[in-house]
Amino acid sequence: MQANSDTAPPGTAAPERLNEAGLRRDGRLERLALFGLASPAMLLILVILVIPVGWLFYVSFLGADGSFSLENYERMISRKSYARIFVTTFQVSLLTTGICILIGYPLAYFMSQLPDRLANIALITVLLPFWTSLLVRTYAWLVLLQRQGLVNDWGISLGLWEEPLKLVHNMTGTLIGMVHIMLPFLILPVYGSMKAINRDLMKAASNLGAHPRRAFWDVFFPLTMPGLSAGALMVFILCLGFFVTPAVLGGGKVIMVSMQIVRNIELFVNWGAASALGVVLLVLTMAILWIASRFLKLENLAGGGHG
C-alpha cells in the first residue's frame, strides 16, 4: 500500500532505480485496490439491472413455442397498432420538448436578468415542482382539469367558454402534465448557461451598431445553445420512456411505448412482446444519446431523475 514511504535514503542513486519496477507495481496494485472500492456499486447495478435487462434482450428473440424467432419484432412492423404507439410516443415527446423550449426559454431569460435576490425567489418557483412527487403533480392536474375541475369552473364563470372542455383523459391533458413535469429539466441548464454569459458582449454588440434583436440572436442566443440543447435532449429522452403521467392523464387514449410494455405484461403476460418493445425503446434512447454525445458534452446532462 504505502508505496511512497519506503524510498531509498538520500545519496544512493542506484538502489532507487532498482526499486522503480517494484514501486510501479505497487502503484498499479493500489490503483486497482481503489478501483475495487467501486465494486459493490457495480455489482449491484450488474445484478439488479444489467443482467435482467440482458435477459429481456434474449427473451425478445424467443417465439411463443420457446425457440429462436423474430416474431416479436415482426409483429411490431406488421401491426398498425404498434406503429401508432411509436408515432404517439414521438409525437408526445416532440411536442412536450417543443412547448418546454417555448415556455422555458423566456422564463430562464427573465430569471437571468433579475437581481440575485429576486432571481433566487424565481428559482424557487422552478425548484418547488421539481421536488414535489411526480404522482402528486399528476394528481393535481387531474383535479384541476377534470370536467367539474377548477379550470372548467373558472373558464365558464368568466365566460371564456360555455360547455365544459374536455381537458383531461386525452392528449391535451397528457401534454399539460408532461410539460409541467419536464419544464425544470429544461429551465435549469438554460438558466445556467445564460448566467455564464458575459454581459459586456451584449454591450459590445450594441456599441458596434447591432439592433437589440440582432444582438440577441447573433450573440446571446448562440451562447445559450449548449444549455438549451442539453436541456432539450434530457426532456426528450425522459419523455420517450415516460409512464406515470400519460397513464393517468391520458385516460387510455394516449398509449406510449412504456404503457404498451406494461400492458403486455399485466394483461397478456407476453414477455416476448414486452421485451421486444423494451429493446426497441432502449436502442432508440441509446442511439439518440450516442448521436447527441458527438455534438454535446454529456456531463451537462447528469443530475436528472425520471419517472
Binding site: 447495478i45 423566456p106 418557483t125 414535489t132 392536474w141 437589440p212 444519446l289
Partner: protein, 273 residues
C-alpha cells in the same frame, strides 16, 4: 410611469418594450407553482368532491387516511424502504465515487458510464427486468428487493453529487495525511470526508427522495404484504378521484419540502470560496 422608459438591458431595450416578457414569466411561474399548492387547501375540504375554495373545512380526509390500516401500512413500508435505501446507497455510492476519483486505471470511464446506466435505461425496462430477476431470487414483494432496486436507482445521483464534491477537493491533503503516517482509510475518514460532507449529505437526502417518490419499479416489485405508498396512490388514481389522495399528497409535499430544506441548510457549503 418613468420606470417603463428606463433601459433594462445592455442593448437599451426599455422595461416598457419588454413588458410582455414580465407578464409571460409571471404567468409561467404561477402555472409552475399553483397546481401543486392548490392540493393543500383542497385536502381540508368537507366535500366528497374536490372543490376550490372549499365551502366548509374539515379534516375528514386526514382521518380517512390515518384511520386506514392499509394506507398506514403502505406509508410505513415506503418510509422504511426510503430510509434503508438511503443507508445502503450513500456508503456504497460514496465508496464508488471515491474509488473512481482516486484511481486512474484505464477503464474508469467505462465504470463511470456503468454507474450512470440506471439514469439512462427507461424505468419500465428496469422494472420488468427486476421483476423477472426477483422471481428467480425469490425476493419479489419483499422490503429487501425494493431497497436493492431503489439503491440502484439512487446510485447515479450519489456518485454524481459526491463526485462533484470530490472534484473541488484537493487530494494532496489526503496524501499529506498519509505521508505523515495515517492509513488510507483513516486519512479518508478524518481529512477527506469532513470536507466533502456537504455533498454526502445532499446525496443521502436525494437517495431518500428517489426511493420515497418512486412509482414505476414499485408497481412491479412491491405488493403482497409490502405495497408502497406510491403504488397504492397510483392504483387509486386509475380508479377514481378520492379526496383522501389530496390529504396524502399534502403530507408528501410536506415530507419532500422538509427534506429539501434540510438539504439546503445541511448540504450547503458555507466555507468562503
Amino acid at each position: 410611469m418613468s420606470w417603463l422608459n428606463k433601459p433594462a438591458t445592455e442593448t437599451q431595450i426599455t422595461h416598457g418594450q419588454r413588458l410582455w416578457l414580465y407578464i409571460l414569466a409571471v404567468i409561467i411561474m404561477i402555472l409552475l407553482v399553483t397546481p401543486t399548492l392548490i392540493v393543500i387547501p383542497m385536502s381540508f375540504s368537507d366535500s366528497q368532491y374536490l372543490e376550490f375554495p372549499p365551502e366548509t373545512w374539515s379534516t375528514r380526509w386526514y382521518n380517512s387516511y390515518f384511520g386506514s390500516p392499509e394506507w398506514m401500512r403502505a406509508t410505513a413500508t415506503s418510509l422504511k424502504v426510503a430510509v434503508l435505501t438511503m443507508l445502503v446507497a450513500t456508503p456504497v455510492g460514496v465508496l464508488a465515487a471515491y474509488g473512481l476519483h482516486a484511481s486512474n486505471v484505464a477503464f474508469v470511464r467505462a465504470a463511470f458510464v456503468l454507474m450512470l446506466t440506471p439514469m439512462m435505461v427507461p424505468l419500465v425496462l428496469i422494472a420488468i427486468g427486476a421483476f423477472y430477476a426477483y422471481v428467480q431470487l425469490k425476493i419479489l414483494y419483499t422490503v429487501t428487493g425494493l431497497v436493492l432496486a431503489h439503491t440502484v436507482l439512487a446510485l447515479p445521483l450519489v456518485v454524481i453529487v459526491t463526485g462533484s464534491a470530490l472534484k473541488s477537493y484537493d487530494m494532496a491533503q489526503e496524501n499529506a495525511a498519509r505521508s505523515l503516517g495515517a492509513p488510507r482509510w483513516k486519512a479518508f475518514m478524518t481529512v477527506t470526508l469532513p470536507q466533502i460532507k456537504f455533498g454526502v449529505i445532499t446525496a443521502a437526502l436525494l437517495s431518500f427522495l428517489t426511493s420515497f417518490d418512486e412509482v414505476v419499479v414499485a408497481m412491479f416489485i412491491s405488493g403482497g404484504d409490502n405495497p408502497t405508498l406510491t403504488r397504492n396512490m397510483f392504483n387509486a388514481l386509475r380508479d377514481q378521484i378520492d379526496p383522501t389522495i389530496a390529504s396524502i399528497s399534502t403530507i408528501m409535499i410536506l415530507v419532500t419540502t422538509c427534506m429539501m430544506v434540510l438539504a439546503q441548510t445541511l448540504g450547503r457549503d458555507r466555507r468562503p470560496k
